[in-house]
Symmetry: C2
Subunit: 264 residues, 2 copies
Amino acid sequence: MLLVKVGGGASINLAGIARDLASVDEPAIVVHGANACRDELADRLGQPTQTITSASGVSSVLTDQDALDVLTMAYAGLMNKRFVQLCQQQGVNAIGLTGIDGALVRGRRNVGIRVEENGKKRIVRDHSGKPESINTSLLRLLIDAGYTPLLTVPILDEESRAVNTENDSVVALLQRTLESRRVIHLIEAPGLLEDRDDPTSVVGEMRFSELEARSHSTHGRLQRKLMAFAAMAASGCEEIVLADGRSEAPLSAALSGQGTRIRA
Amino acid sequence: MLLVKVGGGASINLAGIARDLASVDEPAIVVHGANACRDELADRLGQPTQTITSASGVSSVLTDQDALDVLTMAYAGLMNKRFVQLCQQQGVNAIGLTGIDGALVRGRRNVGIRVEENGKKRIVRDHSGKPESINTSLLRLLIDAGYTPLLTVPILDEESRAVNTENDSVVALLQRTLESRRVIHLIEAPGLLEDRDDPTSVVGEMRFSELEARSHSTHGRLQRKLMAFAAMAASGCEEIVLADGRSEAPLSAALSGQGTRIRA
């Protein structure tokens, strides 16, 4: 079982990934983002994506009810169905699902973010959460019948409300639950870079054991990504590939040695 | 197998329908619209829903690429996932799918609409089509495993592109394919009205054989609906119920005798 994460950037080559999925000879589960699409829609609707910075300095997207609606339209509506269509055109029988469909991904709503404004502290609680369990029987039902699941947010919280979550966290949970040995991350970069301003500085290979040290020299999303990778090593993951989602054949390239390979 | 069509009007009580689905003791397949949601989104995005009138005087929604994107966001994104969430909160394990997911509904793209503008005739071809076949094995796979499919547009055309279609046509095709004996239509009216301006003039019972004559005194969507109902009589349908989707318990009321019952 191949586990593939497709980033939500505007320049990700979804058509190329769909073409590659048609030639992969093992079943695949794909998790995709749609942040560029979400931000564009939010701007057009005059309610730009807001971020919130916690008192401890961590910044994240604020998902109020309006933002959850925009997210659902962009991720579950436009992007998911575009990707399903591209797969169908390549003969890949894709089926698009969010974490709330068939209670595929259940989790827990975040208790709130402690923020400090004008010297005053308060808790801001939004519609976001952490994934905790996967409905593996639904995934196996679909995969055994020849379907390729294309998954995205939202997920269901403990009271069966839709909440936003990090797609990377869903990928990590899927890896742990399904005990996937290989995970492919298709991003808007040629791989992990020694120098983030130099696209030729791709790290070809590295060990899981090096991830923590390396994460200290990064920040934000990439730092969270690397920490999530480190956790996968303990769950039977043998290889994570970080490769360019913008190339002609992103998945094939990742499978044939391009990008950054993180190994046990 | 209960086949339920839920209209896409703004005042349809989705929460009530979700509650009712939890107490129905046979498996259900639900097809829903989202036209109010679609029109509101289209207006907010500054690209209002356009209609086109054919040279023969038939009016329909024009689905260009932008309109298809808006439709996908409203139907497959916002409305479908809202409905899935409401079902999950009632313990109904709903799974939201469009016709393109798992190639659930395949059809044929319309060849175009002949229009006359300033005395000149031309063909306008949009992204719309007619449904022709249902992937029944996917529906059975899900229903046998305890899931309740919530279906909506778009569907796949003969070249695996997403196209818009009438949800009523999908319901008619589902009825024919699955040989459903009973179909429930939940609409924004108490039933079929003798006088459309008098909500107390509900037709309690009628025969399939009366549908054609009655369709002559109606027009637009309702006329198309009645013609689709007439066709179901020939496909083993024994009862169609047209009932109020705005009431406290729309589906329970429809199943217990309210609204208009059309029988063989």
